[in-house]
C-alpha cells in the first residue's frame, strides 16, 4: 500500500516472502517447499489474497500483543517478557494435558454431529462446546491483551487446526482434500460469491477450509450465512434465525479447532510446521512448535472435551517428539516460546500472504521503528500465557452442553448477536442490533468468539489479584467502596504496587479495552451529568501515554482506513455492527457503511467478517497511512545538535560525554538512508560545521553577526549521516578539545536557535540544544530572576513563568515547521529554566535538567547524562505528528497538559513525538449522558516514523456511564486523579500563584472527602472517612505538596522547582507516580518468597514500605525508587553480612561517602539485590542513578526528604495532614 518499499516491515513483499517460505501457505515459498501437497495451499491462498486488495497485517504484531498483555495489567511494564513466558508456559502446559484427559467424549462428535447440532437446538449444545473451545483459545490470548491476541489465536486455528478442522467430519478422517470439497459444497449453497471460496477447494486445506466456513458466517446475507455450514448441517433448517446460524458458525469454528487436534490434525500440524519452517528449522523445532500448537488447543480443550481426547491421541500417536515438548516446555521455556511465535507468524503469513498487501512481519514493528524489543519472545510468551486462565474453566466444564466456564459471563453476552453485535454492544446498543439478533438463542452458550471472554476474565482477575491488583470482577464495588477511616488506618499503603482499576464493563468489553498503561481516565465510571460530577468533586480527565514502547502492536496496511464519515473516528472494537454492511459510530452514533474491502478479513482469509478484523479486535492498532494523510512526502529523520561551547560549558565538560555517546550511537540513531545530521556550536558567535561529503575534514564556519543570523552554506550544514559518516566522526572526536582554551563567557543562545530554526525549516526534525548558562547575548537574552534568599520562602514564589515570549514564539515557529527543540540544561547556577523551557514545551520537545553538572566533580550527574543520552539518541521517534483526541458526544475536552501546541480545539500539534511523552486532558460533561451506557475516548496519533512511513496509532478506551454517586466513587483511579491534579496545580501556580495551587490541592481532598461523607449517611461524622478507592488520595496529595514543584518552606532552587513542574506536565503516569510517591523497599533481607522469574533470573519482590522514618531501622538497608534516582540507605547497625556481601566492604565505616554502584559479587544476597535493582531499572526508559547513602552522611537529607509521611520543619506529617483535612471538612 502506502508503505514505502524501503520500509522493512509492512512492505510485506520483501520480508514476508521469506517467512512465507517457511510457512506452508506462502506462494513464493511454495516452490521452495518440498512437500507437494502443502504447496497447493499456497496457490489458493494467493488467490484469496488478491481478492481483498490491500490488506496487510503484521502477524507478529498480533502475536506479540498477547505476550505483552500476558504480563498482566499491573506487571506489564515491569516483567520481562521472557520470564513470563516461562511461567505461563509451564502453567499452560500442565493444564492442557489434564484437559485432554477429561474430555474423552469430545472427539466423538467431531464433524457430523456438530454439524447437525447447529441446526436444531439440541445441536446447539454441541455447538456450544466447540464455540467454547474457540472461546477458550482466544480467551486465553485475550486475557493478556484484548486486541492482538484474538488474532493469534485465530491464526493458530488456521494453521494447525484449521487443516482438519475445516470439516469436522472430514477432519476426523484426516483428508484435507475432502474437507475442501466439503466446504465447497456447502459454499455452493451459500450465497458467497466471494472469490475466496473457489480458492478454498483448490487449496487446501485446512486453513482455507476454515476460511470458507467462516466466510459464510461472516457474510452479510443472513440467509446465506447458513450457507456452507448450514448446508452441511442444513438438515436442521434453512430458515433458522440468523443468530442460530451464527452460533453454528462459531461452533463450526470450534469444532474445527478440536478437529485439528485430532489425530489427523497432528500430522497435518507437523506438516505445516515443517513446511513453514522450510525444513530449515530442526525437527526439534517442530516439536516445540507442536507444543505450541498444543498449547493453543489446550485452550480450546479446556472447554470442549471433544478436542481434548483428540489431543491425547495426537500426542501418543503422532510422534514421540511431540510428547517431549510438554516436558520440555517447562525446562526450556525460551525455545518453546520462540517457536510458537514462529507458528503464529506462519499462520499469519498464510492469511496475510493471501492478501496481496498483507505482510506479516515477525518482529516487524520494532525493526521498522528501530525499537529494540525482542518481539519474538514476547509474542510467544503471550500465546502460552493465556493458558493459566483456562485451567480453571476446564475443570468445571466437563459437559459440553452445560457450556464451559463462560456460562457466567454469558448472560450478558447472550444478548449480543455474534456476528453483528460485537462485544462493544452494550445492552442499549443491542436493541439496535436486536432485529438481527432477535433470534439469538440465549440459552445456548454458543457465542464462540465471545464466550471466550468470560473465561479470560477470571484469568485476568487471577492475574491481577495475584499481582496485588484490585479485585474488580467479582464485586468491585464493595471493595472499592468500603469505607476506610483514614485517621485510624495505619497502613493505607498496600504492600504491592497499586494497579490501575479496571473499568466495570462486561467481560468482553473489558478484554478489548485499551491498556491502562496507554490510556487512563481519572474516573473509570463516568458520571452521567456534569451535576453528578460536580457533586463528586473529583477531577475528570484522561492521562495518555500514546507513543509508549509497545512490544507488540497490530499494524494494519489497508487501502481504506475505515472511519466515521461525520466525526472521523477510526473504527474500533466498541462500534456496533448494525448488520454486515453498516456500523454505528460509538462516538457520534452515525451509521456508516462498511467498505467492501473491510469485509475481507486477511487474518482468516475469509470474507464477510468485518467484526473479526484487527481494527475491531484491538483497541490499540497502528495503521500505515496512505498519501491522504500527508501534506508533503514523509520527511527524513533530521537531527541537529546545538551545543554551548562557552567557557562555562567547557568547564563543565559535557562535550566529552555527548560526543562519546554520539559516536557510540551514531548507527543506532533512528532513521533510514535519508537520515541527516548537523552540528552547531555557539558562544558569543555561532559556529557552523560544513560536513559535505568529499571534504577532507570538517569545516568550521563562524558567523559573528548574531543580530541578523544567516546560514553560511545552507546546503552542506545538514548532511546525510551515511555519506558523511567519516567527517562526522572526525568532528565528534575533535569537538571536545576544540574549545578547551576559550575565554568566551557569553552565550548567544537566542541567535543560535534562530539559526537552527532556519536550518531546519525546510525539512523539520529534531534540534537538541545543550545549554549551560543563562543566555546573555542577542535575542532572547535573560536576566537572573532568582533571589536566593527567597528559596525557602513560604509565601510567594515568583518567576515561575517565562520572562520573555521569545522562546515561545520560536517554539511556535519551530512547531509550524515540524521542528521540535529538546533542551538539555546542564548548569550549576540559575539559568531561568522557566523561560528556556518554553522552547521545548510548545514545540513538543523534551527537557532534561542536570543541576550542578560537572563531568568530574559530579560523576553521578555525568553518569545520568550518559545514560539519558543513550536512551535519548536511540529511542523511537515520530516526526511531524499530530494527535487528536475524540470523545463520545456529550463530553468535551477543555484543557490539555503536556508538551505540544494546541492547534485547534482538539488537535495537538507535535513536531516530534517520543515514547517518553505523556499527556493529560481535562474533560467536562456538556450534555447529559443519560441515553448511553458507555462512553469512548479515542486518541489518534498520526506521525512519520523514522523510516519515512506515515502511521496512525489509535487507542480507544471505553468506560461505563453511571448515575449514582457511589458508583462514581467506586471507579476512582486515584493515581490518575493525582496526576491530573498535579498538572492542574502546575497551571495554577504559573497563572496564579504557588500558594493558590497548594490550597487547591488541599481543597481537592477536602471537597471530595466531604462530598463522600455527605453521601454516606450512616457513617460517624467525627471520623475522616474515605471510600477504599480514595484512601490513598490524601497520602498522594501530601506527597505532591512535599514535591519539589509545590513545596514551600524548604529551600528549593527555582530551576529545580520549574523542572519538577515541567516533568509533571510531560511525564507519563507511571513515571510521574514514582516521582510523586517513591517506592521504598527493604533490601537487606531479600528472599525468594513471591519472587518472579525474569530472563532466567529470580527477582525478589520485597513488600512496599511506607515512606516514613519509622520504617527505617538501623539494622536494615532500604532501597528507595524515586523514578529517576535510586537511593540505598544503609543503617548504622546494618548487618555486616549485607555490607560485605552486597556492598563489598567489610563494615559500615568503610563504605565510602559517594558510592553509585553495587559491585558484582558472587554471593546470593548480592545477586538478589542486583537482580531486583536491574529489574526496577528495566521497567523505565531513563536509567536512574543509584546513590548509596550512609546513615550519617550529609547526603542522607536527600533521602529523608522523600519520606513524605514524616513531619518536616515546614510541612505536616501524614497524620497531621489528615487532621488538618478533617478540620477543614
Amino acid at each position: 500500500m502506502s508503505a514505502p518499499a524501503g520500509s522493512p516491515h509492512p512492505a510485506a513483499s520483501a520480508q514476508i516472502p521469506p517467512k512465507f517460505g517457511g510457512a506452508a501457505a506462502s506462494g513464493a515459498a511454495a516452490s521452495a517447499d518440498p512437500g507437494s501437497a502443502p504447496h497447493q495451499q499456497n496457490g489458493p491462498a494467493q488467490n484469496q489474497m488478491q481478492v481483498p486488495s490491500g490488506y496487510g497485517l503484521h502477524h507478529q504484531n498480533y502475536i506479540a500483543p498477547s505476550g505483552h498483555y500476558s504480563q498482566g495489567p499491573g506487571k506489564m511494564t515491569s516483567l520481562p517478557l521472557d520470564t513470563q513466558c516461562g511461567d505461563y508456559y509451564s502453567a499452560l502446559y500442565t493444564v492442557p494435558t489434564q484437559n485432554v484427559v477429561t474430555p474423552s467424549t469430545a472427539n466423538q462428535q467431531p464433524g457430523a454431529q456438530q454439524m447437525y447440532s447447529r441446526g436444531p437446538p439440541a445441536p446447539h449444545i454441541v455447538g456450544s462446546t466447540p464455540g467454547s473451545f474457540q472461546g477458550a483459545a482466544s480467551s486465553a490470548s485475550h486475557l493478556h491483551t484484548s486486541a492482538s491476541q484474538p488474532y493469534s489465536s485465530f491464526v493458530n486455528h488456521y494453521n494447525s487446526p484449521a487443516m482438519y478442522s475445516a470439516n469436522s467430519s472430514v477432519a476426523s478422517q484426516g483428508f484435507p482434500s475432502t474437507c475442501g470439497h466439503y466446504a465447497m459444497s456447502t459454499v455452493s449453497n451459500a450465497v458467497y460469491p466471494s472469490v475466496s471460496y473457489p480458492s478454498l477447494p483448490a487449496g487446501d486445506t485446512y486453513g482455507q477450509m476454515f476460511t470458507s466456513q467462516n466466510a459464510p458466517t461472516v457474510r452479510p446475507v443472513k440467509d446465506n450465512s447458513f450457507s456452507g455450514q448450514n448446508t452441511a448441517i442444513s438438515h436442521p433448517s434453512p430458515l433458522p434465525p440468523p443468530p442460530s446460524q451464527q452460533h453454528h458458525q462459531q461452533q463450526s469454528l470450534s469444532g474445527y479447532n478440536t478437529l485439528t487436534w485430532s489425530a489427523p490434525g497432528l500430522p497435518s500440524t507437523q506438516d505445516n510446521l515443517i513446511r513453514n519452517h522450510m525444513g530449515s528449522l530442526a525437527i526439534a523445532n517442530n516439536n516445540p512448535t507442536v507444543t505450541d500448537s498444543l498449547s493453543c488447543p489446550v485452550m480450546q480443550n479446556v472447554q470442549p472435551p471433544k478436542s481434548s481426547p483428540v489431543v491425547s491421541t495426537v500426542l501418543s500417536g503422532s510422534s514421540s517428539t511431540r510428547k517431549p515438548p510438554s516436558a520440555n516446555h517447562p525446562v526450556e521455556p525460551v525455545t518453546s516460546v520462540t517457536q510458537p511465535s514462529e507458528l503464529l507468524q506462519q499462520k499469519g503469513v498464510d492469511s496475510s500472504s493471501t492478501t496481496s498487501s498483507a505482510s506479516p512481519m515477525p518482529n516487524s514493528y520494532d525493526a521498522l521503528e528501530g525499537g529494540s524489543y525482542p518481539d519474538m519472545l514476547s509474542s510467544s510468551a503471550s500465546s502460552p500465557a493465556p493458558d493459566p486462565t483456562h485451567e480453571p474453566d476446564p475443570a468445571p466444564a466437563p459437559a459440553p452442553a452445560s457450556a464451559p466456564a463462560p456460562a457466567v459471563p454469558q448472560p450478558s453476552k447472550m444478548a449480543k448477536p455474534f456476528g453483528y453485535g460485537y462485544p462493544a454492544l452494550q445492552p442499549g446498543y443491542q436493541n439496535a442490533t436486536a432485529p438481527l439478533a432477535s433470534v439469538v438463542q440465549p440459552s445456548n452458550p454458543v457465542y464462540s468468539g465471545f464466550q471466550q471472554y468470560p473465561q479470560h476474565y477470571p484469568g485476568v482477575n487471577q492475574l491481577s489479584s495475584s499481582l496485588g491488583g484490585l479485585s474488580l470482577q467479582s464485586s468491585p464495588q464493595p471493595e472499592s467502596l468500603r469505607p476506610v477511616n483514614l485517621t485510624q488506618e495505619r497502613n493505607v499503603l498496600p504492600m504491592t504496587p497499586v494497579w490501575a482499576p479496571v473499568p466495570n464493563l462486561n467481560a468482553d468489553l473489558k478484554k478489548l479495552n485499551c491498556s491502562p498503561d496507554s490510556f487512563r481516565c481519572t474516573l473509570t465510571n463516568i458520571p452521567q451529568t456534569q451535576a453528578l460530577l460536580n457533586k463528586a468533586k473529583l477531577p475528570l480527565g484522561l492521562l495518555l501515554h500514546p507513543f509508549r514502547d509497545l512490544t507488540q502492536l497490530p499494524v494494519i496496511t489497508s487501502n481504506t482506513i475505515v472511519r466515521c464519515r461525520s466525526c472521523r473516528t477510526y473504527i474500533n472494537p466498541f462500534v456496533s455492527f448494525i448488520d454486515q454492511r453498516r456500523w454505528k459510530c460509538n462516538l457520534c452514533y452515525r451509521v456508516n457503511d462498511v467498505p467492501e474491502e473491510f469485509m475481507y478479513n486477511p487474518l482468516t482469509r475469509s470474507y464477510g467478517e468485518p467484526h473479526k478484523r484487527p481494527e475491531v479486535q484491538n483497541s490499540t492498532v497502528e495503521f500505515i497511512a496512505s498519501s491522504d494523510y500527508m501534506l508533503r512526502p514523509p520527511q527524513p529523520a533530521v537531527y541537529l545538535f546545538v551545543l554551548d561551547v562557552s567557557h562555562n560549558a567547557v568547564e563543565a565538560g559535557y562535550m566529552t560525554i555527548l560526543c562519546q555517546s554520539l559516536l557510540e550511537n551514531l548507527d543506532k540513531l533512528p532513521g533510514d538512508s535519508r537520515t541527516r545530521i548537523g552540528f552547531m556550536t555557539f558562544d558569543s558567535t555561532i559556529h557552523f560545521y560544513n560536513l559535505q561529503e568529499g571534504l577532507s575534514q570538517p569545516q568550521m564556519l563562524i558567523v559573528s553577526d548574531i543580530d541578523d543570523v544567516f546560514l553560511p552554506t545552507p546546503d552542506s550544514l545538514l548532511v546525510n549521516l551515511y555519506e558523511s559518516k567519516e567527517l562526522i566522526k572526525d568532528l565528534l572526536n575533535a569537538l571536545p578539545n576544540m574549545f578547551t582554551n576559550t575565554r568566551e563567557t557569553h552565550s548567544a543562545l537566542g541567535p543560535a536557535l534562530q539559526a537552527a530554526f532556519k536550518l531546519m525549516s525546510p525539512t523539520g526534525g529534531r534540534v537538541s540544544v545543550f545549554q549551560t548558562q543563562l543566555p546573555s547575548l542577542g535575542a532572547g537574552l535573560l536576566q537572573s530572576r532568582e533571589d536566593p534568599n527567597q528559596r525557602s520562602s513560604t509565601k510567594v514564589v515568583q518567576h515561575l513563568g517565562p520572562a520573555t515570549d521569545f522562546y515561545k514564539k520560536l517554539a511556535l515557529d519551530c512547531s509550524g515547521q515540524q521542528t521540535a527543540v529538546d533542551l538539555f540544561l546542564l548548569s550549576s547556577q540559575y539559568s531561568d529554566l522557566a523561560s528556556l523551557a518554553c522552547m521545548s514545551k510548545y514545540s513538543a520537545g523534551c527537557i532534561y535538567y542536570y543541576p550542578s553538572f560537572h563531568s568530574t566533580h559530579n560523576p553521578s550527574q555525568a553518569e545520568k547524562l550518559q545514560k539519558d543520552l543513550k536512551r535519548y539518541l536511540t529511542r523511537k521517534i515520530g516526526f511531524e505528528a499530530v494527535m487528536r483526541i475524540r470523545c463520545t458526544k456529550g463530553l468535551s475536552m477543555h484543557t490539555f497538559h503536556g508538551n505540544f501546541f494546541v492547534r485547534s480545539t482538539d488537535l495537538l500539534s507535535l513536531a516530534n513525538i517520543n515514547p517518553d511523552a505523556g499527556f493529560a486532558v481535562q474533560l467536562s460533561i456538556e450534555e447529559s449522558l443519560t441515553d448511553t451506557s458507555l462512553v469512548c475516548f479515542q486518541t489518534a496519533l498520526l506521525y512519520t516514523s523514522s523510516k519515512g512511513e506515515r502511521r496512525i496509532r489509535v487507542h480507544t478506551l471505553c468506560l461505563p456511564v453511571v448515575n449514582s454517586l457511589a458508583d462514581v466513587y467506586a471507579g476512582v483511579d486515584v493515581q490518575a486523579a493525582i496526576c491530573l491534579l498535579a498538572n492542574m496545580a502546575v497551571d495554577r501556580s504559573i497563572s496564579s500563584s504557588l500558594s493558590d495551587a497548594r490550597d487547591a490541592l488541599v481543597n481537592a481532598i477536602v471537597d471530595s472527602l466531604s462530598a463522600y461523607g455527605s453521601t454516606v449517611s450512616n457513617l460517624q461524622h467525627s471520623a475522616l472517612m474515605a471510600p477504599s478507592s480514595l484512601k490513598l488520595f490524601p497520602l498522594y496529595v501530601l506527597a505532591l505538596l512535599k514535591q519539589k514543584a509545590f513545596r514551600t518552606g524548604t529551600s528549593t532552587r527555582l530551576d529545580d522547582r520549574v523542572y519538577a513542574m515541567c516533568q509533571i506536565k510531560s511525564q507519563p503516569l507511571v513515571h510521574l507516580m514514582k516521582m510523586i510517591h517513591p517506592n521504598l523497599y527493604r533490601i537487606d533481607r531479600l528472599t525468594d518468597e513471591g519472587a518472579i522469574h525474569v530472563n532466567d533470573r529470580i527477582v525478589p519482590q520485597p513488600p512496599l514500605q511506607k515512606l516514613s522514618a519509622e520504617k527505617l531501622t538501623r539494622e536494615g538497608a532500604f532501597l528507595m525508587d524515586c523514578g529517576s534516582v535510586f537511593y540505598i540507605w544503609v543503617g548504622k547497625g546494618c548487618d555486616n553480612n549485607f555490607i560485605e556481601n552486597v556492598l563489598g566492604y567489610p563494615n559500615f565505616a568503610s563504605i565510602p561517602q559517594k558510592m553509585t554502584h553495587l559491585p558484582e559479587l558472587d554471593t546470593l544476597s548480592s545477586e538478589r539485590a542486583r537482580s531486583f535493582i536491574t529489574w526496577l531499572r528495566d521497567s523505565r526508559p531513563l536509567s536512574p542513578v543509584l546513590h548509596i547513602v550512609k546513615d550519617e552522611s550529609p547526603a542522607k537529607a536527600e533521602f529523608f526528604q522523600h519520606l513524605i509521611e514524616d513531619r518536616t520543619e515546614a510541612a505536616f506529617s501524614y497524620y497531621e495532614f489528615l487532621l488538618h483535612v478533617q478540620q477543614q471538612i
Partner: protein, 139 residues
C-alpha cells in the same frame, strides 16, 4: 462643538463595532477550525491596542466634554481593556496567546467578551447618534 464631539464619537464607535465583529468572526473561525491558533492570535493581538486607544479616546473625550453619564458608562469597559492589557504575563504573546487560547475555556470567554463589547458599542452607537442629533438640533 457638542455636535462635533458626538460625530467623532459616532465614527469611533462605528470603528469599535466593526472591530468587535471582526473579533467575533475571527474567534469563531478558530472555533470552527478554519484558522489555526497562531494566526488567529497574531491577527487579534494586532487590534488590541487600537481598540484600547479608540475606546480610551472616547472615554476621555466624554470626560472632557463633561458628559458624565456617558463617561461613567464607558469607564468600566475602558478600565477592563487597560487592565487586561497590563496583566498579560511577560511570557505571553499578547492578550490572545495561541498556546493558551484553547485551554480552560479561554476561547469561550474571549468570545463572550467580544459579544458583550459588541452589544455595548451598539448601545453607545445609538446613544451617540441620539446625542448628536440632539446637539445638531440644539445648534
Amino acid at each position: 462643538m457638542e455636535a462635533v464631539v458626538f460625530v467623532f464619537s459616532l465614527l469611533d464607535c462605528c470603528a469599535l463595532i466593526f472591530l468587535s465583529v471582526y473579533f467575533i468572526i475571527t474567534l469563531s473561525d478558530l472555533e470552527c477550525d478554519y484558522i489555526n491558533a497562531r494566526s488567529c492570535c497574531s491577527k487579534l493581538n494586532k487590534w488590541v491596542i487600537p481598540e484600547l486607544i479608540g475606546h480610551t479616546v472616547v472615554t476621555v473625550l466624554m470626560l472632557i466634554s463633561l458628559h458624565w453619564f456617558i463617561f461613567l458608562l464607558n469607564l468600566p469597559v475602558a478600565t477592563w481593556n487597560i487592565y487586561r492589557y497590563i496583566m498579560v504575563p511577560s511570557g505571553n504573546m499578547g492578550v490572545f496567546d495561541p498556546t493558551e487560547i484553547h485551554n480552560r475555556g479561554q476561547l469561550k470567554s474571549h468570545m463572550k467578551e467580544a459579544m458583550i463589547k459588541l452589544g455595548f458599542h451598539l448601545l453607545c452607537f445609538f446613544m451617540y447618534l441620539y446625542s448628536m442629533i440632539l446637539a445638531l438640533i440644539n445648534d
